[in-house]
């Protein structure tokens, strides 16, 4: 068991190394420091001196991977790869192109992100599973058919529509909550409600339909027939037998996103003006701040890998067949 976990963690090391190399290649080979400087300084009236200075200020004037002017170990360490890419492993994100401490920003901004993403996630999963169970309970009946049709309609509507429509309805017409913004303490609640509700609603169609199929697939299995032949009530069959088995495929999709909750949602945060990591990334992309984007891409990948490990680990908790082999 422990060996299994350790092995999984060790597998993550080469993957992370690969992610790091790929990000590095993407941001420094495909897009060279010169290009970055030109974009930042304005493409038209830029002098070679200004570019050189811009690069020197940010340490981008060093060679990419091998410094043949330096001596000893410095040949490797005094490079862009070592200073900007390898350090990401120590969660040392360095400074943004504007000169801000990225690490500090992330630590500050992850809390608003979490404040939106975590309730959305929890309420969402609970709601989707409940709705799916209800549809599965009434399978083949009128309610089920109507439910599926409603799900398909909800799925077909763009998430942006929910955001704009929700803002219009709840804030503009009914004046229930502010349209956007964020505050600390108790104040935070009124800013959080609307994005959370919209986040949950926009996922209802797809997820309910998906979970319903998981349930129906389990309901068709032999052990359910056995459970019924024992004389168990339908509710007991669903909760005791079906739910536990259907959790296995549900977990696959759910656990993997848990770590990603820290970096929030790009769309929700930028639309609701939440100062979280999602809007941080969007802003960085808009202002072409490659240091931040690079840091966020790397962070996202790390969290995704953590999520995959958590998923494997969660299997061992719900599926006895995995636990013991």
């Amino acid at each position: 068991m422990l060996a299994y976990l350790i092995r999984r963690l060790l597998y993550a090391v080469p993957i992370l190394l690969g992610v790091n190399l790929l990000t590095f290649a993407l941001f420094f080979f495909v897009n060279s420091p010169d290009d970055m400087a030109r974009i930042q300084l304005g493409v038209k009236r830029v002098t070679p001196e200004a570019i050189a200075q811009w690069k020197a200020e940010r340490g981008y004037d060093k060679p990419l991977v091998y410094n043949d002017k330096a001596a000893g170990l410095q040949r490797v360490t005094d490079t862009i790869f070592y200073r900007h890419s390898l350090r990401l492993f120590a969660f040392d994100f360095g400074r943004s192109d504007e000169g801000r401490d990225i690490g500090y920003d992330i630590r500050q901004r992850m809390w608003p992100s979490l404040a939106i993403a975590l309730p959305t996630f929890l309420v969402g999963v609970l709601a989707y599973v409940t709705f799916a169970l209800i549809l599965a309970f009434f399978r083949g009946m009128y309610l089920d058919t109507v439910g599926v049709v409603v799900c398909v309609i909800l799925m077909s509507v763009s998430a942006l529509f929910y955001v704009i429509g929700g803002q219009y309805l709840a804030s503009k017409l009914l004046h229930l909550v502010p349209i956007s913004g964020y505050g600390g303490g108790v104040d935070a609640f009124k800013f959080i409600v609307l994005p959370v509700v919209i986040g949950v609603v926009s996922g209802i169609g797809g997820n309910t339909r998906l979970y319903r199929t998981f349930f129906l697939e389990e309901i068709g299995k032999d052990y359910v027939r056995t459970a019924r032949a024992k004389g168990l009530s339908e509710a007991r069959v669903l909760f005791r037998h079906v739910l536990k088995n259907a959790l296995i495929p549900i977990l696959t999709g759910v656990v993997v996103v848990i770590p990603l909750l820290f970096i929030g949602s790009l769309i929700m945060e930028s639309f609701f003006g939440i100062p979280g990591l999602g809007s941080y990334t969007i802003d960085a992309i808009n202002s072409q701040d490659f240091a931040i984007v690079r840091a966020m891409v790397f962070l996202g990948s790390v969290l995704y890998i953590v999520g995959l490990i958590l998923t494997d680990f969660s299997y061992t908790l719900v599926d006895p067949r995995v636990r013991l082999s």
Binding site: A3, I6, R7, G140, K221, D222, Y223, R225, T226, A227, R228, A229, K230, G231, L232, S233, R240, H241, K244, N245, I248, V318, D319, P320, R321, L324
Partner: protein, 639 residues
């Protein structure tokens, strides 16, 4: 479990009485009458076997009794099911729940999937216990039940998950679960079909023993005449949604009366029929979405005459027996019908035994074959041990002969097959094909040789690519081996192959799912033949098929061997098939061959204790004397 049997005596107390049960399914093609007017009764302590082939409606009958017919497609449209003095079809779903499990319990076919994989065995049995207040008492009771079905270390097994138990153990758990509430009726739906023959023998013995102790009535649903012979007091034969014959076991095995029952016996392979074609039931079960104007068995019956076409046969009831056939209906003008025709048909197929091949050297020689699979453990996945799937296996198959490799699941027989075909590279040992050591050849050197040794797999449903047309399936091998230059020739050859296995040439343009199991297995055989092999490894080619279909496939394989001089390595667990087809037998047990020799020799005078146990475990079928196909005396068939 302490209820005495003596006090009850052999009284006439009927536990279950089914009257004219009809269960229909609504499908896009129309209403399928899966169960169409079934009636029977079971007394206390008695076992009624409901015998029939797949699709005859026997399982749906069982599910109807429990009111568990898959909804919304299926519905019970008529009939009564009396359990004691209660018509259970009249009960609400809520009241029905108190009947299920408590008064009528079920054991299903597939113990692998019939238990919930994520709940412990103890918990699942515990759920079937009626109203236990005290948790500790419940646990004690479950452990008692586990012990009563012969599970060792029952207290520890309580917390085991299904996957930690073997197939036989799982079926024991199912039985414990079914008996938890001491039901009046136990429905056993193919309880041993998924199990090995020795495990089957244990489970059947256990069921009989428990029945003796508790006096439970058993409805045994099976397709296996051997199981019927072993277990049943009464036999009801089902065909196309109806019971066509009812008799006591003794009467049924002495003299099956319905032509279908007779055919079932005749299609069974065994030693006595060696070298003779098995009787097959021509055609297929009729579609059940039609109104029948005559007999349902009409198309496949050797005795059918005008009346069978024009008039639906009545149920002719005798003392403790019954049959649904015009042959036994007094006004029948039977004079014109000669009962000898069936026997003649069999005899005319020829009784010529295969000539002994002149070559003594084996076409296939296997020497000390070993296939080991590494067991990896720990952080670094080091190899700590090996699973010796095949260990020191040697045998030789002369050209034109059949060697049967017999053994239970897990004995390594399929691995031997793969090792020979080089689908798995053996760990050690040699496989000589026509003197050439396959084990020493590279993948590339093997490829041109592969046309000489082909394989037919067990499951015709998954061994054909569902996205390829039959013609493409047949031609793929020829193309890979560059056998026939142009597409025209290949296509012509494909049509020939289909004719050879008894399928129309038009089958080329259809997909595998359009064919029945038996037809698909014919396609598999045609596919193997396409590259003109000399050796065919047949890996359980008939175990997924019904007996009557099995007979067709076995006949085909036998005929092809005669015509083309093929050599077979026949991997099977079915000893009837071995008796019928094999020249030589090798018995495998735990990766080793424990006994081999001539088929006759090994099967009649087994030396090794495992072979003896295996043969003893096979249920014995006393075959009805081949003499009577019909009640010529005529007097026992009246209504």
């Amino acid at each position: 479990m302490e209820r005495g049997t003596r006090s009850r005596g052999a009284g006439n107390d009927t536990v279950l009485r089914v009257e004219n049960l009809k269960t229909y399914f609504d499908t896009p093609e129309g209403t399928v009458r899966a169960v169409d007017g079934v009636s029977f009764a079971i007394r206390r302590g008695e076992t009624l076997a409901l015998l029939g082939e797949s699709g005859c409606g026997k399982s749906i009958t069982a599910l109807s009794l429990l009111q568990l017919v898959p909804e919304p497609a299926g519905r019970i449209v008529a009939g009564e099911v009396w359990l004691g003095d209660q018509d259970v079809l009249a009960l609400s779903e809520r009241d029905m729940r108190r009947v299920r499990g408590r008064r009528m319990a079920t054991i299903f076919q597939e113990p692998q999937t019939s238990l919930n994989p994520v709940l412990t065995v103890g918990l699942q049995i515990r759920e079937a216990l009626p109203d236990v207040a005290d948790e500790r008492a419940a646990r004690r009771r479950v452990i008692e039940l586990l012990e009563s079905v012969g599970i060792p270390q029952a207290p520890e097994r309580y917390d085991a998950y299904p996957h930690q138990l073997s197939g036989g153990m799982k079926q024991r758990v199912m039985i414990a679960m079914a008996l938890a509430a001491e039901p009046e009726l136990l429905i056993a739906d193919e309880p041993t079909t998924a199990l090995d023959v020795t495990t089957q023998a244990q489970i059947l013995k256990l069921l009989k023993e428990l029945q003796r102790q508790t006096g439970t009535a058993v409805l045994l649903i099976t397709h296996d005449l051997g199981v019927v012979a072993e277990m049943a007091d009464q036999v009801a034969v089902m065909y196309a949604g109806q019971i066509v014959e009812f008799a006591s076991r003794a009467a049924f095995f002495r003299e099956p009366r319905h032509p279908y029952s007779q055919k079932l016996f005749r299609s069974l392979p065994n030693r006595l029929k060696r070298g003779v074609s098995l009787d097959v039931i021509a055609g297929a079960v009729p579609r059940l979405d039609q109104e029948f104007r005559g007999c349902r068995f009409l198309e496949r019956c050797d005795f059918a005459w005008d009346r069978c076409r024009a008039e639906v046969p009545r149920w002719l009831e005798g003392a403790d027996k019954g049959v649904r056939c015009h042959l036994y209906d007094p006004p029948a003008d039977r004079a014109a019908r000669e009962p000898g025709s069936l026997a003649n048909a069999v005899a005319s197929e020829g009784t010529a035994r295969r000539a002994t091949p002149e070559r003594s050297r084996g076409l296939l020689e296997v020497k000390n074959l070993k296939v080991y699979f590494p067991v990896q453990r720990g952080l670094l996945q080091r190899v700590v041990d090996y699973v010796r799937a095949v260990d020191e296996v040697s045998f030789s198959v002369p050209a034109g002969r059949t060697l049967a490799l017999v053994g239970e699941s897990g004995s390594g027989k399929t691995t031997v097959g793969k090792g020979i075909l080089q689908l798995i590279r053996p760990t050690a040992g040699e496989v000589l094909f026509d003197g050439q050591a396959l084990t020493r050849l590279s993948e590339r050197e093997l490829r041109p040789l592969r046309r000489q040794f082909q394989v037919i797999f067990q499951d015709p449903y998954s061994s054909l690519d569902p996205r390829m047309q039959v013609g493409e399936i047949l031609e793929e091998g020829m193309r890979a081996q560059r056998l026939l230059g142009d597409a025209r020739a290949r296509s012509k050859r494909a049509a020939e192959l289909l004719a050879q296995v008894g399928l129309p040439a038009s089958a080329r343009h259809r997909y595998p799912h359009e064919f029945s199991g038996g037809q698909r297995q014919r396609i598999s055989i045609a596919r193997a033949l396409a590259v003109e092999p000399r050796l065919i490894v047949c890996d359980e080619p008939t175990s997924a098929l019904d007996v009557s279909v099995q007979a067709q496939v076995l006949n085909l394989l036998r005929r092809l061997q005669e015509e083309l001089g093929l050599t077979y390595l026949f991997i099977t667990h079915n000893l009837g098939v071995v008796e019928y087809l094999a020249d030589e037998v090798a018995v495998m047990y735990r990766g080793r061959i424990v006994e081999q020799g001539g088929a006759e020799e090994v099967l009649t005078r087994p030396q090794h204790s495992y072979t003896q146990a295996l043969l003893a475990a096979v249920p014995k079928i006393e075959l009805p004397a081949e003499r009577t196909a019909l009640p010529v005396s005529g007097r026992d068939g009246r209504a």
